[in-house]
């Protein structure tokens, strides 16, 4: 009963992930209620009854697999979420086809400024429809209570405002043309940039409020929603020229040139032409995302940390579920021997063990993925990064399948090598 309730709750969270379990349950029901079911299938029913009959081990295996599935899925999803955050700005800025930058740039926040004239050089390359400058920098905002908060400041081309936020919740993008105008992201407005009252309450920043960016007055004219940055700082949009005023004085201040290719242009070839003509690096959006992810994968310990947890999940699965499943087989070895003595072929016994492994694997996987999905849903409004694409469900399923297969192989070997004469050993 409890298991059914949990399963149903989990179904509501991630139905796709549970299709496999649904199938198993439906098939099991067919076995259960159809009196004309063939004997081979009845032996499967006996296998399931043997499995469920030993409740302590049955739940032990399922819980082991559930935790393995949960750990593998949840930690991988957080890792994916973190990696997605590293190039969140690229995801938000979808209009340009190509990003042009200093050749030494290693990832999106590795800012090596360009000369403003570089945008003109890029525009002159054959196949470029338009090219606009973009400023991206980390500036300190002074809040009304006197504290400072580092913010990502994005400076958009003054004329076109290309590269603006994907979703504007309040105000309009064109409002950036007003004096000292900035648009801030809603999470930053309600969080790190919010005014903290003496009683501890936070008052979100709203349109019309002001703050100081590097001693320059900035007025909020809009609220937007963007992908959270890797370091979770607030994101502030303004015009390129105003951003260069906000930014500390430097000789060069342009971070990127955003390029749109003319229709029919091969983007890779255009990147090559831009590089050849300007000596700058040019990447398509996907290439730049990959470059960023590769940097974080290579130079941070994030993959190792998460990989360790995922491997631990796998080991937990093998150690707990695998061992419990093997012990379950050992507990039932006398009955497998009895079935063998009574004429059950190796094939029937093999199917029985595989079905038992598949059953616990399916339920354990479903519960684990369901729990991971629930955590993802519940943490949607928190700082936790969580991304669960369908591919990750497949990876998790493959890992659980591997655990079940490893467990089943040991049990299968035991059952297949079993001498039916064991039935006469009275211990």
């Amino acid at each position: 009963m409890f298991c059914t309730i949990v399963l149903n709750v989990c179904f509501t969270f991630h139905e796709k992930a549970f299709q496999g379990i649904r199938t198993i349950i439906i098939v099991s029901r067919i076995f259960w209620f159809n009196p004309n079911t063939k004997s081979f299938e009845i032996m499967n029913l006996i296998a399931l009854k043997m499995l469920i009959g030993n409740r302590a081990k049955y739940f032990g295996i399922i819980i082991g697999l559930m935790f393995a599935s949960l750990l593998i899925t949840q930690q991988s999803a957080i890792f994916m979420g973190l990696m997605t955050r590293t190039y969140g700005f690229l995801t938000d800025t979808q209009l340009p086809d190509i990003w042009v930058m200093d050749p030494m740039v290693q990832y999106i926040d590795d800012l090596k400024p360009l000369k403003e004239t570089d945008s003109l050089r890029v525009r002159s390359v054959e196949g470029v429809a338009w090219a606009v400058p973009l400023y991206k920098g980390l500036l300190k905002a002074r809040l009304t209570n006197g504290t400072f908060q580092a913010c990502h400041v994005i400076g958009l081309d003054d004329e076109t405002l290309i590269g603006g936020p994907p979703h504007i919740l309040q105000g309009q993008l064109a409002d950036l043309r007003r004096s000292d105008a900035i648009i801030i992201d809603i999470v930053g407005a309600a969080g790190k940039l919010a005014t903290k009252l003496p009683d501890g309450k936070r008052v979100p920043l709203k349109i019309g409020d002001t703050l100081e960016l590097n001693d320059h007055r900035a007025v909020v004219v809009g609220i937007c929603r963007v992908q959270r940055p890797f370091q979770s700082q607030p994101v502030i949009y303004t015009t390129f020229s105003r951003a260069t005023i906000f930014a500390p004085r430097e000789r060069k201040l342009m971070s990127f040139v955003l390029v749109k290719a003319k229709p029919g242009q091969d983007l890779c070839q255009l990147c090559q032409r831009i590089s050849d003509s300007t000596g700058l690096a040019a990447y398509t959006s996907d290439e730049f995302k990959n470059l960023t992810v590769r940097y974080f994968m290579k130079y941070t310990g994030i993959p190792i940390n998460f990989g360790t947890t995922v491997i631990l999940g796998f080991i937990v699965g093998i150690a707990i579920a695998g061992q419990t499943f093997y012990n379950f087989t050992l507990d039932n070895i006398r009955y497998f021997g009895t079935l063998k003595a009574m004429g059950a072929s190796d094939r029937i016994l093999l199917r029985m063990v595989l079905l038992q492994a598949g059953m616990v694997g399916g339920i354990g996987y479903g519960l684990g993925v369901g729990a991971a999905s629930a955590i993802g849903l519940l943490s949607g409004r928190t700082e936790l990064s969580f991304r669960l694409p369908w591919q990750l469900l497949l990876v998790s399923a493959a890992a659980i399948t591997l655990i079940c297969a490893a467990s089943a192989v040991l049990s299968i070997l035991k059952v297949l090598r079993l001498e039916p004469a064991i039935v006469f050993k009275n211990s």
């Binding site: 159809n34 009196p35 004309n36 079911t37 063939k38 004997s39 081979f40 009845i42 032996m43 006996i46 009854k49 043997m50 499995l51 469920i52 009959g53 030993n54 006398r334 009955y335 021997g337 009895t338 079935l339 063998k340 003595a341 009574m342 004429g343 059950a344 072929s345 190796d346 029937i348 001498e419 039916p420 004469a421 039935v423 006469f424 009275n426």
Partner: protein
Amino acid sequence: MMKKATVVVRCKGVTKTYGTGSTEVHALNGVDLEIHAGEHMMLVGPSGSGKTTLISIIAGVLGQDHGECSIFDRDFSHMNRYEKTRYRGQNIGFVFQMFNLIPALSAVENVAVPLLIQGVRRREAINRAHEILDRVGLGDRSLSRPEELSGGQQQRIAIARAIIHNPKLIVCDEPTSALDHETGHKIMELLCEIAVGTDRALIVVTHDARIFEFADRIAKMDDGRVTLVTSSFHYLSDKKKN
């Protein structure tokens, strides 16, 4: 009285050795034995005399090292694994000391298992199992799990399971040793009533002298050999004299 009927089991010079080198144990040292249809044969003897090894070989769950052991003129050692399993499933019924009923299955399901293994449809197998349960007096406990039944009731179910597919040979390993005297006696009466038939043989391995009277013949084993084969009447008479 010795019946001149079809030979069900014929063992000739059967040997079996466990282990190698210093751990070598000669369980059977050339066993010769014949069991006929309609006969109830008991294998008796002290522990370690080779009784269980012999019925394991007769039942095809263990291979002999040398010699011949055939059931209805078919020797398991000449069959492949699949044929052996199939032949065993169709022709031999088992009753074990510890019953070996699958705990997760009800009585009727346990009884139906041999038929299900052979491919009989579930409804037919269950109907047949109900009939057999009625014959062993447990028709009203068909839905009970083994854990809900007494030892005697479990052994009755095991007997029902052993005969449901109408095997030609039924082998019983110490069927009464886990039961009290009265229940053991009833179990043997039941076995003799429903398991012995003109076309099948019953072999019981036991060291429970209280049930020797149920046998047609008794084969005494010692040190891996059959040292005496006689009628139960003579065996018990000789025993009383000694």
